[in-house]
């Protein structure tokens, strides 16, 4: 893992549920099949209402997003248990979601898959930052710097080494919980 990333941010509001992250009609795609994984990425956040989110997260016809950091309000990832949600974001190229708060299963799935870092900000950054602003996420100090201000994020604690290892299985192997491959 790089020690910091700098990228344009994509900003969403409260209660972005898994249907908006990856709408149900794309769930027949199986994430462990390589081409279907890539396809899931191309549909990330396609369920956001167009009138509230005129900017496309993944450009029309593209497979990847120009935004490696997503900033969100309360309860990001609520709704279904579909792992397709963190996977779609990860496959699109997202490294981290910085949200005021997360829904439990989404948070857990980020950790289990190791697809992305779910940072709890406890702050309503979604009111302060705009889509397209450039931000730097510092993984050594758990800070986000944007528009000249630096915000302290809650450290990931116990789950950090699991994501660093690349998810639950790699972590369980490293720590000897299950046999090495």
């Amino acid at each position: 893992m790089a020690h910091s990333i700098t990228s344009k941010v994509f900003v969403v509001r409260d209660n972005i549920d898994t249907d908006q992250i990856i709408p149900a009609q794309y769930l027949a795609l199986v994430p462990t099949i390589a081409e279907e994984y890539e396809k899931l990425g191309s549909y990330a956040l396609i369920g956001l209402p167009d009138d509230q989110y005129p900017e496309k997260f993944v450009p029309e016809g593209g497979m990847k997003t120009p935004y490696q950091i997503v900033i969100a309000g309360r309860n990001f990832g609520c709704g279904s248990s579909r792992e397709h949600a963190p996977i779609a974001l990860g496959a699109a190229g997202v490294e981290a979601v910085v949200a005021e708060s997360f829904a439990r299963i989404f948070f857990r799935n980020c950790v289990a898959t190791g697809e992305l870092y779910p940072f709890d900000s406890g702050l309503r950054l979604c009111d302060i930052v705009k889509t397209g602003d450039e931000a730097t996420l510092d993984f050594d100090h758990d800070t986000l710097t944007v528009n000249g201000n630096t915000y302290q994020l809650k450290p990931l604690g116990d789950v950090r080494p699991v994501i660093d290892a690349g998810g639950l299985f790699n972590y369980a192997r490293k720590s000897g919980m299950i046999a090495a491959k």
Partner: protein, 455 residues
């Protein structure tokens, strides 16, 4: 300890656990379905090897139910992936869409999605099927690759939804690391009055604490009011714990629970030994509140999230395009009977769709006669469009040819459980959640209507 703490302590071989502890629990049942099963199987094979065997072939339950009656080729393929895996692993509880274990599932679009296309092993919606087929047992640990897995908590189980990676881990090891949640207690007094249903109770509670009011927490339902609730009522309530962000919802075990579980395990020949968790004198809660359920009024959760609580009687100005009854939450036999009580002998004013949650519900609606007419025909004669193919259908939108899916920006009142934007199809469509009574009354008038006007 609270009910959740007691079950987690037992499953992790400890005498005591506290909220915040991370414990490895032994899993009693893992459920998966056609949307997350193929990915779970993919994770299992990638991590444990192409020839690996699952930890226990009697503890895995596979229930195709989500995208079944659609011509979408990938969805049909996904059911075949489940069948191949069930055969290879010798999984005993696989409720296949077709009867031929070597066959392929292909939906016949020419027949339409109203007419029966499933075989005799098929059951329908996963959570309803877990109960029906005797996979819910008090005191046990159940995980499922579906957020509404919390429904099984009605049976005094610890039950919660997980993703494919966690489920793939369980397939190989039979264990999972979880954090012990804090418990919120909802203490019920009184009994539901005429015209009110369990759905009103849970919509009221979610409105009370907010759509994320139970995030990371267990919701424990207790008190003298529980005795009057049937298992169907309890399932409706625990089903929606996740709509308040809850990790799980749980009821104590009483004679009603035991009668139901003993009947279902006997019927399907599933394991019938279990140890319920009973209520300790010494429990600590992060939230504790008493609710008089006899004082509730018909409740609606408005677009765009389940926490937007309103009373049905205040919402008469909302004109509707569609009504829908079905799903794990609102597609049980008791839900359809309540709906039929209201529409019987009348005609619905808006497009109204009915999807039984399981094949058993379908059979019961056809077999139940009121004045010489089956409830099924009473519904059809009232103008309700019914399908003989039980399953999730339009509850989560699904492929565009799904029965009842909203393919235009319509307003729908629904007996289902979730109403985030786009949930039932078109992303500009709107969903209002309500009890089967309220959905029925609203179907008759074309606007949101308090059902007590019709009772």
């Amino acid at each position: 300890m609270t009910l959740t703490e007691k079950i987690l302590a037992r499953a992790s071989g400890k005498t005591h656990v506290r909220p915040g502890d991370n414990v490895w629990v032994n899993v009693d049942v893992l459920m998966t379905h056609d949307v997350c099963g193929p990915g779970t199987i993919g994770v299992f094979k990638r991590e444990f090897g192409a020839n690996a065997k699952i930890w226990d072939r009697k503890k895995v339950v596979i229930i195709p139910d989500h995208y079944i009656f659609t011509a979408d080729a990938m969805s049909n393929r996904n059911v075949d992936i489940l069948r191949d895996f069930a055969n290879e692993q010798g999984i005993e509880y696989f409720y296949d869409v077709i009867d031929d274990p070597k066959g392929h599932w292909r939906f016949d679009a020419a027949k339409g999605n109203g007419q029966r296309q499933h075989g005799s092993h098929y059951s329908g919606v996963c959570h309803s099927s877990l109960a029906l087929k005797g996979h819910n047992r008090p005191g046990e640990i159940l995980f499922g690759t579906d957020s509404h897995t919390c429904q099984s908590g009605a049976f005094n189980q610890f039950a919660t939804g997980i993703g494919n990676t966690d489920a793939g881990f369980i397939l190989g090891t039979g264990k999972l690391l979880i954090k012990v949640p804090e418990t919120m207690r909802f203490f019920f007094e009184g009994a539901l009055p005429k015209g009110l249903m369990a759905k009103d109770v849970i919509l009221h509670l979610i409105g009370e604490i907010g759509f994320d009011g139970a995030t990371y927490r267990a919701m424990q339902f207790e008190g003298p009011g529980v005795a009057s609730l049937t298992m169907d009522d309890r399932m409706t309530i625990t089903n929606m714990a996740i709509e308040a962000g809850g990790k799980n919802g749980i009821f104590p075990c009483d004679q009603t629970t035991l009668d139901y579980v003993n009947a279902r395990t006997a019927e399907n020949g599933t394991k019938n030994t279990f140890t319920p968790a009973d209520i300790d004198a010494d429990q600590s809660f992060i939230y504790d509140k008493t609710f008089d359920i006899s004082a509730l009024e018909p409740t609606v959760a408005c677009h765009p999230d389940p926490g937007q609580r309103k009373l049905a009687k205040e919402m008469g100005h909302v004109a509707l395009d569609r009504a829908y009854i079905g799903s794990c939450t609102g597609g049980k036999t008791s839900d359809f009977l309540a709906f039929a009580e209201i529409v019987r002998g009348k005609t619905v004013k808006i497009d109204t769709f009915g999807v039984p949650s399981t094949t058993r519900v379908l059979e019961e609606l056809k077999a139940t006669q009121w004045d010489g007419k089956s409830v099924w025909n009473i519904l059809a004669d009232a103008g309700v469009r019914l399908t003989e193919n039980p399953g999730c259908a339009a509850c989560l939108g699904g492929p565009v040819d799904t029965f009842g899916r909203m393919n235009a920006p319509l307003k729908c009142i629904s007996a289902t459980n979730r109403n985030f934007p786009g949930r039932m199809g078109h992303k500009e469509s709107q969903v209002f959640l309500a009890s089967p009574y309220t959905v029925a009354a609203s179907a008759l008038t074309g606007k949101i209507t308090d059902p007590r006007e019709f009772i």
